[in-house]
């Protein structure tokens, strides 16, 4: 997806496509690495020397409002962000810390006693050792 289509994508969701906004969206879209605000800021500051962390926060919160992006917490008190694509779980390796996206079938996680509950969102976070590190 090039900058033009990203701009369209943002516009469709009622967001004016400024340069920082496009770059942040593109970063999330192309990197797919569940970055923290720090990750995004440190990587984009070269491309956008005037970027501020506040802008990164504001932009991400704007994207979340627009349901383009979602945030989640792993263990640490530090939010991670990703483009909303399809439902999946996160697996974090305890050795290399890499985060894997795990496809997640549409399992019903509510036993029948809880069928009166309405689930709007589910987050599944797995920890363990990944295949690479087990070798």
């Amino acid at each position: 997806m090039d900058s033009l289509t990203i701009a369209e994508q943002l516009t469709v969701h009622g967001i004016k496509p400024s340069y920082p906004r496009i770059q942040i969206y593109k970063y999330l879209y192309t990197k797919k690495n569940h970055p923290t605000v720090d990750d995004i800021y440190n990587d984009l500051i070269e491309e956008i020397p005037t970027l501020s962390k506040t802008t990164v926060y504001n932009t991400l919160n704007l994207f979340i409002e627009a349901k383009l992006v979602k945030s989640f917490n792993l263990d640490k008190n530090e939010k991670r962000y990703e483009i909303i694509i399809h439902d999946h779980s996160h697996f974090q390796c305890e050795r290399c810390n890499k985060i894997y996206d795990i496809p997640c079938d549409d399992i019903n996680l509510l036993p029948k006693e809880y069928e009166g509950f309405k689930v709007n969102e589910k987050q599944i976070f797995l920890k363990g050792i990944c295949e690479e590190c087990l070798k």
Copy 2:
């Protein structure tokens, strides 16, 4: 579980049963409300006027080391703590914010492409509207 058995429980896990430690453990054990550090501190300060928040943090981290307690994050950057009993999910109601423990059968969440991964821990966090609030 009275204070005596809590003291034994702690001793078995190599933790000297001081008064604050017993009270904090009892709090987690009897309340079962996924408290934050602030919750614990504010509720116990009446019983233990000399309690400090640092002690609450230290004690909880000690319990986690000993695998008596685990912590988890919901949406906010604020840890919640609970006694480790059996695997279960958390459901937080978006309206009343109450957190429900949802029994969670031992579902395998890894598709077969990921069967080389070793899962040590899983956390499932559901958001939605609870039955009470739907009425």
